[in-house]
């Protein structure tokens, strides 16, 4: 063990005595060599004992033996000396004889480490890795790398703190200091050991930026109450429990440990920490893929289709919706859990979207499938278009999360053009509407329309109608094409909304006007890129 030297001996000895596993011992000796942690558990134990023994040979003490019962020793031809009664410092270290028939003679149960509760022991073994990989592979995700997220029970921080105090004290006797930050973090050591194994089995590298997350949650119910004393010692660190979850979160416990005075800590918690009966348990292993984004432009040809599902009192008022017609197929193909649909503005139920359509983006949440070629995307586009004549999509493509910002920019900044079919109460002649074509940059003051006032704040919006072009139809009808600023209420510009939009077509023509039909002709946003 090149990274452990003579000066580490007293600490190694101390920790071996207190039921600490070899890898935790390496951590507390600030060993930074990743490969050392990957050595097999048995080998590390052997080497550590040897390190201690080399000193002890000079003294008249027994070499002790945490994990190797007599049967194992003879098999491996271990050269340990000393009697079989394994006693040291009054702490009985005798391993129980094998009482589990399934276990091979070789694998006598290892006592759980009193610091890591088995995380750096059992949960580094090939068996566990296999179990994890089985779970991951059976979940059937597409991924090219993975990031491992490990959640440890908060009481591990408490035990770590206790062990640190113990080691710090011992080092103090030798005139040395040990900052808590110098100790190798448990999670870090765990990842050093398990990443290569997972990588090998899954066939992809570990990458902190990976979108594919494998999460492990460990629990140790036996010691859950160990944190509770912190609530009395540092009450302000623990906020009342939200959503019936435990108030002893990892963050809260760590904060409390930073605050609590050494003397107070030692009053309430055994130092060294007491050895546990059981190992940690690994709760459900979960996989999650980061969201992917699919963008495109949609046309809407129905005057009876809402943007989002229209449900009142649990009853669906209108069949389907723009977002469902587009997203359903995407969710199916990407095998996602759910979707979030957004678009650059939207139109009413009774308004069509013509021209090159309106930009939209669909966030696919936790997709199992993420790789699609341009051809496959084209095929997906065709599937959506074949499935409904109410909407059509184009330029369907994968985009990044950042790209969504461009779309939302469009909503507020870019112009839109419309075509409105207008009715007037009093007769009109061609000359009566011709002047509309000459009006440029018409400023409107629009109060929040009455039809949305139930759910929007009362405000006045200043909006601009850039240009208009009229098409005479008959004495009571004409078509008006308008190019307007984003956020202009067109219907209210036509009928005036009880005089709350000024000016309006009625006031301009000195008549009462109504809007019979409205179409969006274009949404002037040049995103997503046309294919």
């Amino acid at each position: 063990m090149s990274s452990l030297t003579e000066k580490d001996r007293p600490i190694v000895q101390l920790l071996l005595n207190t039921g600490t596993c070899p890898r935790c011992i390496l951590r507390f000796c600030c060993v930074g060599s990743q490969t050392l942690y990957r050595h097999p558990h048995k080998e590390l134990v052997k080497d550590l004992k040897e390190l201690v023994r080399n000193k002890q040979e000079k003294e008249d003490t027994v070499c002790f033996d945490i994990v190797d019962p007599p049967c194992k020793r003879s098999r491996l031809g271990c050269t340990e000396e000393g009697p079989d009664d394994l006693k040291h410092n009054g702490v009985l270290q005798q391993s129980p004889l094998v009482n589990d028939e399934d276990t091979a003679v070789e694998n006598c149960p290892v006592k759980p480490c009193s610091i890591c509760l088995g995380i750096l022991q059992e949960f580094c073994e090939a068996d566990f890795v296999k179990k994890v990989c089985q779970k991951v592979l059976s979940a059937d995700y597409q991924f090219t790398s993975f990031v491992l997220s490990v959640s440890l029970p908060p009481q591990l921080s408490v035990r770590e703190h206790a062990a640190w105090l113990l080691v710090k004290q011992e080092m103090g006797k030798l005139g040395l200091s040990l900052a808590k930050d110098d100790i190798v973090q448990l999670k870090e050591a765990y990842k050093w050991i398990i990443h290569p194994q997972l990588s090998e089995e899954l066939g992809v590298p570990a990458d902190g930026k990976s979108l594919f997350e494998v999460s492990m949650v460990f629990a140790h119910p036996e010691t859950d109450k160990e944190c509770h004393f912190l609530a009395t010692a540092c009450p302000d660190c623990f906020k009342p429990a939200k959503n019936k979850q435990s108030v002893f979160t990892r963050m809260a416990v760590i904060k409390a440990l930073e605050k609590i005075k050494e003397e107070d800590f030692l009053l309430h918690f055994p130092c060294p920490p007491s050895p546990p009966e059981n190992l940690c348990v690994a709760l459900e292993i979960q996989c999650n893929n980061g969201a992917v984004f699919v963008a495109g432009r949609y046309n809407k040809y129905s005057r009876n289709l809402p943007q989002t599902p229209w449900i009142i009192d649990g009853e669906r008022k209108l069949e389907s919706s723009v977002e469902e017609l587009i997203s359903e197929h995407l969710v199916a193909e990407f095998k996602a859990d759910s979707f979030n649909f957004s678009s650059s503005g939207r139109e009413d139920v009774d308004v069509r979207t013509l021209g090159s359509g309106r930009p939209f983006a669909v966030e696919l949440v936790n997709p199992h499938r993420i790789h699609f070629t341009a051809e496959e995307m084209k095929g997906l586009q065709q599937t959506i278009n074949n499935s409904s004549d109410k909407i059509q999509v184009r330029d369907l493509q994968l985009v990044t999360r950042e790209a969504i910002g461009r779309m939302k920019e469009g909503e507020e900044e870019k112009t839109k053009t419309y075509s409105a079919l207008i009715w007037t109460d009093k007769a009109i002649q061609r000359e009566d509407i011709a002047f509309l074509d000459d009006i440029q940059e018409l400023k409107l003051d629009q109060k929040t329309p009455l039809r949305v006032l139930h759910r929007r704040p009362l405000a006045v919006r200043c909006r601009i109608i850039h240009t208009m072009k009229s098409e005479y139809i008959d004495e009571h009808h004409f078509r008006l094409h308008l190019k307007t600023q984003a956020g202009t209420y067109i219907k209210e510009f036509v009928h005036g909304d009880f005089g709350r939009t000024k000016p309006n077509i009625g006031s301009l023509l000195n008549r009462t006007a109504d809007i019979l039909e409205l179409d969006v002709e274009s949404v002037d946003v040049d995103w997503p890129p046309a294919l």
Binding site: D425, H454, R456, L458, H495, G496, D497, I515
Partner: protein, 177 residues
Amino acid sequence: AAAGGAERYFRRWYKADVKGRPCEDFCVLQHSNRRVGLRGGSAQICVITLAEAHPLLQSGKTITSVNYQISANCSRLQNKVSGKSKRGAQFLTELAPLCRISSSDGEEYTIYSCIRGRLIEVNENILSNPAILQEKPSTEGYIAVVLPKFEESKSITQGLLTQEEYEEVLSKRLNSS
């Protein structure tokens, strides 16, 4: 032909002979769009207007003033609302006065809320142009916009007459005169 697109989605309710004053009828336009409250109930925007039978809408009447200052401490013009829930609004009961209107023949009429709820806005256009109240009483000549509370949605129209019921009232008046 439709009277205009602005009124398409409103349902008409009536209150007749308010405060016992003959023919002082009002029409409450209730919009179909509802906002559902988290704790139940719903809210629909209501527009308070004069009904056709109101004396102010009869021929020969000239409006001389419209006054939103209904008491020493209360001016409807000072109503300020903020946010979606229209916080800060003056609260109205059925007989809360909205404004007082005088005509050239010396008469003074009080316009009442007719429903309980938050005052959203009063129509300032009729201050500058009182004629519009008589020309377009059901649209540009509206008096005020009120939003009832979620909890009271079920009872909001209890004190009001439907179109049919109001027409009966009108025909009774004709028959008795």
